[in-house]
Symmetry: D2
Subunit: 292 residues, 4 copies
């Protein structure tokens, strides 16, 4: 895609542009927009990864590496202050933001060598173009492994979680297409070395998310949706987080769920825009979700 394809006359008056272009197309657009003093929220992957070599491994050669440092990875719950000052925000991948929000608070209390992220995701995550995989007779009632290893969001997750852990972290990510349209659940399996208890995890979550409007800790024994469930988040910008400790195998399991089209994409982008313009973060994002 060339920048000329866009209607420059309208854009030059804009305060902000949401770039919803294919991966690889943002790299060529961003510097021109920044020259026009337009703020950018980039929904592609081009400015998410700080290290151009890692970007290249998962995507292609980066043609605009000089802007990588300036770009801010757009998870408001992690770096609100940087987003407020940013001119270029890289909106995160949907699986990445879900996994990061679930894993970040506990990364310091778990073993970094055995972290597994099992993602279950709805059909809307695959985009608007009909394919054999999205053809209803093939897609309905399916549990399809669509990228057993090497999924691109691995890079974002490792980068962001590594920054919090203060050392490199590797994660194994396997996404599965399941029978729904909207929604994403990640089940994050970790092991702990020192003994930990429920209250340690509660404390970690409270510390991390004390004042977060869009993060809810969900952990109830006796109700139907007592752990995070993407079904009851449809239409909302909330990310629900829960956990379970397994003494039998010394594991801490984290659950993180959201609507992949809202908090996993456009809603999170609006949240970023609100911050960039000094607005209250939740403006335009008050919808509470549909149930059932």
């Amino acid at each position: 895609m060339q920048f000329e394809d866009l209607n420059i006359d309208h854009i030059s008056e804009a305060d902000v542009v949401f770039l919803a272009v294919p991966h690889g197309a943002s790299m060529d657009l961003v510097s021109q927009l920044l020259d026009l003093d337009i703020k950018i929220i980039d929904l592609s992957a081009d400015f998410r990864i700080k290290d151009p070599k890692i970007y290249e491994r998962y995507y292609r050669e980066h043609t605009c590496p000089e802007l990588l440092e300036e770009a801010v990875y757009g998870v408001p719950e992690l770096r609100r202050e940087m987003i407020k000052e940013a001119k270029l925000v890289a909106n995160p991948g949907c699986i990445a933001v879900t996994a990061i929000l679930g894993l970040a608070p506990v990364i310091k209390i778990v073993n970094h060598d055995y972290i597994i992220i099992d993602a279950k995701i709805g059909s809307s995550a695959a985009g608007e173009t009909p394919t054999q995989a999205s053809h209803h007779p093939e897609r309905n009632n399916v549990v399809r492994i669509y990228k057993p290893t090497g999924h691109r969001h691995t890079a974002e997750i490792e980068q962001e979680v590594g920054l919090i852990a203060n050392k490199p972290v590797k994660v194994g990510l396997t996404p599965h297409a399941v029978g729904m349209v909207r929604g994403l659940l990640v089940t994050i399996y970790t092991y702990f070395s020192r003994e930990i208890e429920d209250k340690d995890v509660w404390r970690a979550l409270r510390t991390f998310y004390r004042d977060e409007y869009f993060i809810r800790v969900v952990k109830e024994k006796k109700i139907l949706h007592g752990l995070p469930n993407p079904k009851i988040l449809v239409g909302s910008n909330f990310c629900d987080i829960g956990f379970s400790l397994d003494g039998h195998t010394n594991r801490l399991i984290m659950f993180s769920a959201l609507d992949n089209l809202i908090k996993g994409a456009a809603g999170n982008a609006v949240q970023n825009m609100n911050l960039m313009f000094g607005l209250r973060e939740e403006i335009g994002l008050h919808y509470a979700s549909l149930h059932p």
Copy 2:
């Protein structure tokens, strides 16, 4: 349930009885049936676990522990010869048989300390009784964690896999209800210590399953259902197994899929019956599955 509830006149002439009673009810029935020289295929959990203390931990006190040794755990692919001679076969749990068939062939080449089983399962696995959880408005389009830790099938899996490993093995099992009626996929995350390659896993699978009619290794790159997918097993007694190696994190991921009502329950029971009566194993089980 009391044995008197059954029509003893008809049963006393039977060659075989399929006990489809609640967990806990088989214990009281089995010895009476064996006295009548009737073979039993027990679909409850009562005779699956050899150690009555472990049974008690997951279920309740065992009232008939003296028959536990005689009972044969009914996965034909693991102990065909014993089933042929058995009078009492304990048909396995649906998640258990799926996980065991995926994990057993590779248990000797993976690290026993970090084995995670993430199960995705259809609504028919919850049985015939309507509940709030099975109510269509609540159950449709859902990804619901229904037992984050401590699921009962853990005991069966650890017992059977431990026998093959020749030492105790612990596994972490987390089942998720997903949007379909029939079908079960387990994703088994393991780590390896020594380097292994694709051909090592192929060899392990070939060795284990060379002549198995109902096991298919599914691992194709370029087709839609190139890894095990329960959707295309609906109605059949096949169990499809696949894998993926992840050099990035030294992981071997095993995938195992089946129809929970057939190979995960009644079909596997018929397969056991065929063996017990010297019939060809696949009689009555030739249906190839519906697709789409």
Copy 3:
């Protein structure tokens, strides 16, 4: 249900009560609430039918017939001015309001002897109580005829449409449960005696619904959802109406779609409340629906 079960202390201070009680329970509550000068929006069927004999035929004996005349049948698009003055509004049945909104504008141009209403409805319309019919394995992927003839909403439709036609009208109504949670489409088959053209129907619809905020006429040839489709109304209070003329058989087919939980129930009730209190009709009902 007895009125004593309700917390009278709180209610006595209320301006309005939404009665979401089973059919038959409102009859005993309403007069007591009216005595307290509380406005009532009754979501049960008890005050929808003006003729107590017809009520009795479809439900049971009416114990409070003296209030039937005072009650206003709550379709704002039909009798806005009466609702503004009403103390007791009978919120319509979900199939009834959908059918009435589709049929009312054209009732004067079609043959009254052959009117057929085929309804397709999601699982949420059956209420919150799990039953065998709502059990996910039974309800998923279903097209189930649940009341081939004699459905109770027939009475409401005939009453309201007959008032507009200025003479008794009979309709045949057959609802089918189809594979979705929220949503309701009625396909209304009618015949015309005099020749009519597209523009006649457009004129009838424009005349009837010129200023209606929540009614949209949807009739586009070249787009995917160019006729009313409940899927794209999920979460909104809109009712979409479309039509098709069939010269081959002299038929006019009307289509009417809505979200059965919003415009078919609670949303319509809020719309009534807004009118009863002199508020703008769409307050609290601005949500535009989720898609996909």
Copy 4:
């Protein structure tokens, strides 16, 4: 498509060819195959309509009208003896065969001027090619009117039902895409002039279908699937037929359900083949359907 595209060497040895080609492609292939003395079961629409002018109205100009008389419309339940002798069988459209099987037995007792066929159909009926309409996020949870009037199967239904009625009959057909993959239900609304009772309809059905293996009359009051439901026919070659009389409006409603890929397509074609070769009609078609 040209006949040269087919592998003539293999075909010339064949006894029978199933032509699963697009509408319009069979016309050019059939005469060449007949010259080779090969029997043909044509799954396209090209030889279903006897009158080339009607074919042209719904499809295109017919290039091989001289074979139209020889072709036999392939509903075994209507013309078994002709199919046994046929060289060219036109396998019916899926909606057409469903509607014909439901309407034919009662056409002589209902008013011919007001016949409405409302069809509800699964996504597999739209074929294998992914489109925007079949894209899972758009197709899931939908009730989409995809051809309000003028659907092509109208011609087949009118032709076959007219033959039985012994005079021209017009029907109005409106198909709706609903939330399932396999399955088709038609609800056929008719009016009666003389009073009729349940036993009259039972007698008509018994007379028509007395010895039919694949037709089942389903009409039970107290069970969940007591009227025809495509869900419980998935995978089978059965067509279930039921009815309901409505004294309120003098209507007889017929219900007819089947699996659109089996009795609505390939299964019916195999049934035709069996007849053409003097085999028992149900050979290869014994599968009893999956439930749930």
